[in-house]
């Protein structure tokens, strides 16, 4: 298929999104699912290499850069869109449909972009289209959350753009490669910060748990997969082996756990666990060895599947009960058993339980840390893997489906939702049992050829399985030992968004106090005091001056009669204020004036 080989999958989805907008409901929904599947097929048909190079502003763009890394991301992006679209059959509106396809399309655009300009353009398109998925919830909270979300992303986009422009200016080339980015240290730092904002790295992380849980049921599933993972992809492209990413990733992984433990809202728990999981990937990019990069891509792949599954099960609960707080949920296993089982599979997969997809991907990153002797990074990642089981593996299903029965008796999730969840749950277990299928599409997969079979991983290296199992079961034990301390409270947790939410208020008050008091002081001094004084001066000065000049003359000529002098003064002031003078006075003034002019003219010449 040479035609499909030369069409960027991004265009398929974005153009398709707008064509489908015109169709009636059922055709549109079917068409969208078919389009996502076709996108998957189109990605599979791409042959390796760089091509499609239209000229833009005098630069050659590269709309298709195909290699194993971009193809792996392309597969999972279209696959998870396919699952999410099936899931949301009964829930998805026209707006969400278009926004989601455009969002997925632009994410594919970033993944296949070989130059920095088209990368940036698709990057911004992602920010804009994803905002509609939050707005589609259609309430005041989501509107404000969407506002904050787009502001953060536009700011991040500007930082990225600055970096890109500096890099292009330095090298004269738009190619999106590590060498190009590293030419100029400032450009590199700007680009790195721009990407890290999208990757939800601490301290730019709060937009994610702020915005995603305010989105619609469908929006949450779609959002959870793309923005942070395209950021991981761009890190893999531009910054493999960048040392600073190791501590950043470890901090993200641990921070995600602590906040997920504090949270009450189930979808916010899942949002924090995205940060935790992306922390693993960022750390893996920082380690930067062949094994680590393969592990990052594998982990992104598996993560998207089980995280979609978790968001789907949370979404099904939200759809049926209209509640998302742990303090209001509980005991749902009674009426939503299928959702519970499928959600639990996702929870086990994210925890990296053996035989699930999490186990075969996360262990690649920890093994890479171990091979490079990064002891502290390894410890942080192990803490993070134990903690994942705590918050996502047990806390989420336990508080939603078990814990206290709150008398909720919702119906089981609709059939379409169960179909979507089943697909994802199947993939979680299938990949866990057949690691070679995933490993064969990874970059640098030659280093994994000796250890990609079920036998190699689960039988020959049974010690890893046993130790992982031991760690997880003791993590679970500590959850139940400390359960009284984990009792949910109807609270929210304060994150870095405090600085721009409360901080914005403080800033506003501060600016209000400072500038308005300057304003008031200026008004008092200039408007109320100085200007009237000036006006008075201008009105009275000529009269007083004349009086001052004339007083000695009057005193001489009128024999110092005080009463008559006073009378003259008053008459003069009255004439000044009314502007009426007898001809003689006027003539005298004119003479004096001409005399002054002549005198000045003389002295200057």
């Amino acid at each position: 298929m040479t035609l499909l080989d030369n069409i960027p999958p991004a265009f398929l989805l974005i153009i398709g999104a707008f064509i489908l907008l015109l169709l009636p409901a059922t055709a549109r929904k079917t068409g969208t699912i078919a389009l996502a599947f076709f996108g998957f097929y189109a990605v599979s048909q791409l042959s390796e290499g760089s091509r499609i190079m239209p000229e833009f502003l005098g630069f050659d763009l590269t709309l298709l850069r195909v290699d194993s890394t971009s193809k792996a991301f392309g597969y999972i992006f279209t696959l998870s869109a396919f699952g999410a679209l099936i899931f949301s059959w009964s829930e998805r509106s026209r707006l969400q449909n278009t926004a989601a396809l455009a969002y997925v399309g632009s994410a594919l655009g970033v993944v296949f972009a070989g130059d920095m300009i088209s990368w940036y353009l698709f990057w911004e398109m992602m920010a804009i289209s994803s905002t509609f998925l939050i707005l589609a919830r259609n309430n005041e909270r989501s509107r404000l959350a969407a506002q904050r979300y787009i502001l953060i992303h536009l700011a991040g986009g500007l930082v990225l753009l600055t970096g890109i422009l500096l890099a292009i200016h330095e090298t004269g080339s738009v190619a999106f490669t590590k060498e190009n980015i590293y030419q100029n240290a400032t450009a590199k730092n700007f680009i790195l910060i721009g990407i890290l904002i999208n990757a939800a790295a601490v301290p730019f992380s709060s937009w994610l748990p702020d915005a995603y849980p305010e989105s619609t049921v469908f929006g949450g599933i779609i959002l959870s997969a793309y923005t942070t993972k395209t950021a991981v992809y761009t890190l893999v492209r531009g910054f493999p082996g960048e040392d600073i990413l190791i501590p950043i990733g470890c901090v993200m992984a641990v921070y995600g756990i602590i906040y997920a433990l504090l949270e009450n809202d189930m979808r916010r728990i899942l949002a924090y666990s995205i940060i935790n999981q992306v922390g693993f990937m960022v750390c893996g990019v920082g380690i930067g060895t062949k094994l680590a990069i393969a592990g990052v891509v594998a982990h992104a792949f598996c993560h998207i599947i089980y995280k979609s599954l978790l968001w789907m099960s949370a979404g099904a609960v939200l759809y049926r009960t209209n509640k998302s707080k742990c303090t209001e949920l509980g005991g749902l296993y009674k009426t939503m058993p299928i959702t519970m089982v499928l959600g639990t599979i996702g929870a086990l997969a994210i925890s990296g339980v053996p035989l699930t997809s999490g186990f075969i991907s996360k262990t690649l990153i920890t093994a890479a840390a171990e091979h490079q002797n990064y002891l502290w990074a390894w410890l942080a990642l192990e803490v993070a893997s134990a903690g994942v089981f705590l918050h996502a593996g047990i806390k989420f299903p336990f508080f939603v489906f078990f814990n206290v029965d709150r008398g909720l008796r919702p119906k089981e999730a609709p059939r379409a939702m169960i179909a979507g969840m089943s697909l994802m749950a199947f993939l979680c277990i299938y990949l866990g049992l057949n690691p070679s299928h995933l490993y064969s599409i990874l970059p640098n997969n030659d280093i994994l050829t000796n250890q990609n079979s079920f036998y190699e991983i689960y039988i020959k290296h049974f010690d890893h399985v046993a130790t992982m199992f031991q760690m997880l079961i003791f993590s679970g034990l500590s959850f139940f030992l400390f359960l009284p301390m984990l009792r949910r409270t109807p609270t929210i947790s304060i994150d870095f968004d405090w600085f721009y939410r409360k901080g914005a208020n403080l800033f506003y008050c501060g600016i209000d106090k400072t500038f308005n008091s300057i304003n008031r002081a200026a008004e008092h001094i200039v408007i109320k005091t100085f200007l009237p004084a000036l006006a008075r001066f201008i009105i009275t000065a000529p009269a007083s001056l004349t009086v001052m000049i004339l007083r000695p003359i009057w005193q001489d000529s009128l024999s110092a009669d005080k009463a008559s002098i006073k009378k003259h003064e008053q008459k003069l002031i009255a004439r000044f204020s009314s502007g009426t003078f007898p001809v003689a006075y006027s003539a005298i003034f004119i003479l004096i004036f001409i005399g002054i002019l002549i005198f000045l003219g003389r002295s200057s010449s």
Partner: protein, 115 residues
């Protein structure tokens, strides 16, 4: 795997409870919360001990062989390291989260007056 065990067990009791109490639509929270059930704890302890006993029968690959001087590196090869590590790491995270909750938890209407 504890979750799975709990799942199946709870499911069977849950079905019975539902069959009996459906008209009233209310079950007492005390009987519904699995953490106070002694049989759950028994299962939990049994699985924990199995996971430790299992370690007697396997040959573990050594971690961090090049970092011989590092105490932590050596500790990772101790018997039962992973179990202890899981327990300490999780208890530590829970206690840390509990400690931080004093500063970080706020009422749900905390941001209501902000943009």
């Amino acid at each position: 795997m504890a979750t799975k065990k709990k799942v199946t067990r709870k499911n069977s009791t849950g079905n019975k409870a539902r069959a009996k109490t459906r008209p009233s639509k209310e079950t007492s929270p005390a009987t519904d919360n699995p953490y106070i059930s002694p049989s759950f704890w028994k299962a939990m302890w049994i699985i924990c001990s199995i996971s430790v006993i299992l370690e007697f029968f396997i040959h573990r690959h050594k971690h961090f062989e090049e970092l011989e001087s590092s105490v932590l590196g050596n500790m990772s090869n101790w018997f039962g390291f992973y179990g202890l590590f899981g327990l300490i790491a999780c208890s530590g995270s829970i206690l840390l989260a509990k400690g931080l909750s004093v500063f970080l938890k706020a009422k749900e209407d905390y941001y209501d007056d902000t943009p």
